[in-house]
Every structure is written in C-alpha cells, then in structure tokens.
C-alpha cells in the first residue's frame, strides 16, 4: 500500500490524525497499525533527520603481550582458513558457537607465538628465507608436487603466499625453540625407546617451558 505522508513531532513520533486514515487502516487493530507504521518508517527516505548510522568496528586491540599487541584485523586474517574449514565441516546451526571457540583458541595460540618470538629475539634464534624455502620444498616433494602447487592449495584455503610463508616460519621457529630448550635428560631417559615416546616427552617439556614463559610475561586479553 502507498505510504501515508507523516508529519513527525519534535520527539520523532509520528502522529496520524484519525480523519486522515483510510478506511482500511482505520479498521486495523492498534498493534497492526503500529507495525504498519514501523514498516513505512523503514522504507522512508534518508531525509528523516534521526536515522541511526551503522557503526562497524574495523580494528581494536584484542590482546597485549608485554608491550606488543594482537589486533582484531590480525586475528581475523589468521582466522580466514579456519573459517573456511568450519564452513565445510560444521553444520550451520552449530557454526556460531564453533567460530567463537575457534577465535578463542586462535587468540591464545597467537599469544603463545608472541611469547616464543620474544624468547627467540632474546636468545637470537632466527629463521632464514632459505630455511622456509627448504621446508616448503620438502612438503612439495613429500606430496609429489611442485612448490607452486602448495601455494595454490594454501590460497584455496584462504592463505595468500605471504601468509603461508609466515605460518611456515612460525612453525619452524617453534620447532627450533623446542629443540633448544629440551633438557638433555629427556634424550637420555628416552634413549632406546620408540620415537613416539621421545616425541611425547619433548612435547611435554615444551609445554612446561611455555607455561614458565607465560608466568614471566605480561599477558592481557581484552574482550
């Protein structure tokens, strides 16, 4: 139906004089007339003076690690491949809850990365471009493809070339630190045992190390 011309009072509430109502509207209940009024308001032009603007948060600080920060933009960028994965594997009804858990876990993972980076800078542990290239070539060889195919696959999962290389660098750094901080007794105690047991012991030592580093680091999650 055609919208009625509405004169707004200074409080922004429309007042419709009874005499102005068409018969069809006059016959409606109050609730239905109110709903119609709101629908009409929704279609109204932007000429209405007090239309609320949409506000979109672009970026903010989501965590502080010592004097470094993790931002919302950074978190969202890292979440992109995981979101694709969730979309493909989680039913829509459960997706919001799954995404919330994913973001939470990812943020904690990024905080851990910052802590490890801080340790690496102190101990002068670094990753070279050659090491990253070698790692990617190894992955390609293991899958009988060329390195470019690896980048294409990563891109299909929401990670551009630079992001993928950054992820590889982070994983190599994590490995290097793990090897550096594992006490010699772990290797001695597991000498002669199956490799899986040694790897489990190394992982446990690494988790202990991370917890120790967290205790010595200022970490603030800003929800």
């Amino acid at each position: 139906m055609a919208a009625q011309r509405i004169r707004l009072s200074c409080h922004g509430r429309a007042r419709l004089g009874r005499g102005a109502l068409p018969a069809s509207i006059a016959r409606m209940s109050f609730v239905r007339r109110a709903a119609l009024f709101l629908f009409v308001i929704g279609l109204s032009s932007p000429a209405l003076a007090d239309t609320p603007k949409k506000v979109e948060v672009i970026d903010r600080i989501v965590a502080v690690v010592d004097r470094d920060i993790v931002t919302l933009v950074e978190l969202r960028k890292r979440a992109a491949p995981r979101l694709l994965d969730l979309k493909a594997s989680v039913p829509e009804a459960q997706r919001v809850a799954a995404e919330a858990v994913m973001y939470r876990d990812l943020l904690q993972h990024m905080i851990e990365e910052r802590i490890l980076l801080r340790y690496a800078q102190r101990e002068r542990i670094s990753i070279s471009t050659d090491e990253i290239n070698t790692a990617i070539e190894n992955v390609a060889k293991a899958n009988n493809v060329k390195p470019e195919a690896i980048y294409e696959q990563a891109s299909a999962q929401g990670m551009d070339r630079a992001a993928y290389r950054d992820e590889i660098a982070r994983q190599i750094l994590r490995l290097k630190i793990s090897r550096a901080i594992t006490p010699s007794r772990v290797f001695e105690e597991n000498r002669g045992k199956p490799e899986a047991e040694l790897m489990k012991a190394i992982d446990a030592a690494f988790q202990t190390f991370i917890e120790e580093q967290k205790r010595e680091t200022h970490v603030e999650v800003r929800l």
């Binding site: 609320p52 506000v55 979109e56 970026d59 919330a100 490995l175 992982d203 010595e216 680091t217 200022h218």
Partner: protein
Amino acid sequence: MIALKSWPLASLCTLLCAAGCGGEVKRAPLHPAPIVAPSKQDEAKREPTAMVCAEMAETSSKDSIAVIEIRGERIPKELCSLLQSTPGKPVDAALVDADVRAIWADGRVDDVVVSAQRGDRTSLIYDVRMLPSVASFEIQGADAAGNVAEGIRFERPTFASQASLSTEAKRVEKELHDAGWTTAKVSYEITKKDEAQAAIVVRVALGPRLMVRRIRIEGPSEARAEELRALLLTRPNQPLDKLALARDVLVIQADGYDRGLVMMSVAEPELVTIEEGKAIEVVLRVSEGEVYRLGNVRFAGDLIEPAKTYEKKLWTSAKGAIFSRKVIAADVEKIRALHESRGKIVEVTPETTVDPKRHTIDVTVRIQARR
C-alpha cells in the same frame, strides 16, 4: 599447529615436526565485534573530545572516507600524523591496522578502537584512551635510590600503564629469584587520582635468600670432581646465583672439550632443599664419555700458502693427539692472523667429522675470503 585438514601444513608437520607443534589449549571466550548500530542511549552517553585529523567535503562515493577523527581526552595533536588512512578512499583494514600499531607504539596510549560510521558519508573514528601520567611513585621495600636488592632496581614508569608495570614487576621478580631470593614477590597497585593522573605503589617482599651449602658433582672420579669444582663460580656458603650456575655448566662442558671429552654432557643442575628450606645442595651430574683424539686434518678454501705450510707452521696438534677445543681455536686464530698480515680478511671454520667407533675427529679447516 593449524588444525587444517589439508596437506600443505599437515605434511610439513610430518616432515619437520614429528614431535607435534603445540598442543590443545583451553581458553576464555572471544568473538570478534559484529557490525552493530549504536542505540540512541549509547550515543547520548558518549561525548568525548573529537579531533578532526583530515576531512574531504565531497567524496566520489558514500563508502569513501569523508572525515577521520580521533576521539578521547587529552589527545596529543601529533597522533594525527601517525595515521596512514586518508579521506577520499574506502576504509582499508590493513592501513587501519598499521594506524592502530603506530598509535600504540607511541607509548602514551592505553587503548584504541577504530570504527567506521556509515551513513550518507563515512567517518573513520579512532577512539583513544590515553594513559594517566604518574602523580606519585613509591616502592615499599627499596632503599632511597630505588634499589630492591644488590644491583636490582624497579624502574619508575613514565605512564601508569598496566602493561609496563606488570612487565617490570615480572622482570624484577625473575632477577630476584635468579639471585637467590627464590620466594620474592613483587606486586603493584595503580590508584587513579583523576582521568589524567594515577598514583603507583610497588611492594617488594624479598623473603629469605637461599644459600648454597654444598656442591656435589656426580659421575667423574673424586679427583676430577675437585678439578671441576675449582672452575665453578658457585661456591659453598654463598647465596645461590642461578645465572652463575648456568655459566658453571658451560664452563664444565668447555673444560671437557679441551680434554678430548667431546661427548661430555652436563645435566641441568638439581637444587636439593635442605635445612628446612633455608639452604640448598647443588647436584651436577656429569657424563664424560670417551676421550677423542685428532684424526686427519686438511686445509681447504682460499689458501695463500701450500697446505703443508699450514700443517707444519700453523697447526699445533699432530694426528693422534688428544682433541682440544682450546688448541684448535688458537690455531684457527694463527691462520686468520697470517691472512690478515697479507692484507686478506678471512673466515676460518674448522669442520669436524666424529668417528664414534674409533673415537677420532677429522678436521677440515675451511678458509673463506670475505667479499
């Protein structure tokens, strides 16, 4: 490790990381801020000071930024110069992120939230909360100069920042623990006087300082243990110093390498509490292994003399001699000095090949001119 099912990263983990890269983590909830329209109530409450950094009267589309503002109290004008976002262009999340980092790096800011207000035109708004300055700063448990213990100071912050104070408190606490005050606690309190100023009180509770009562070296003979004990900085009846103890482990290892004990390992020192927690016994477990001797030595790379000359005039150890890191290091220095005397700057690197069956070490001395 990213929980992706695809092979690019899963394969990498298999190749490089049989240990597994990281583990499960249990956390508090987080969800990125959704797009919201502020209620009229919110808008009525919020009246911060707004500083217009840049503005464009007309833009090509309503999605292009028309105005960039920084809102908050006590905002320094120079914050505008840190921004890379500009009017006339659409909002670029990457540029905004760079702006947030630049504002944070300024050091005077507590928080930043950047939002785009979209309607007839787009406004890019940086809501900034400045840190309060320090009205007063007190350390309970320090001397007049601010020293908490010998050579350990708590630095006065410029601004009353949780992050800075927490980082400094943890640093000082760790230094105290390493110096033997193993139960020391450092805490702080920030009390806001008003939006612009805060009072800070730091409390340091030292606790007892642990003494090293004795040092036990397990593994080598008693005579050898005495030799090693003489090398240590850590001494009985002195306060525990964890940094000195870490250095002692390296010194023991170096001594082994100088005596051909190249497979020597020193376990992480064990600190055994005694005397009802007031003192400790330091236990160092040393596994020396076999003595290794020098095998074949060859010289390669940018030589300036025949290899025989290097072997006869610059190389001290003969084949079969006990391998010594110190002697080899001295010979490497002689080679480097010879090249330098001839106007050539070189890197000299001894590459070793260990034979665990024969207990010998072959050395290739690689000389590389710096370019």
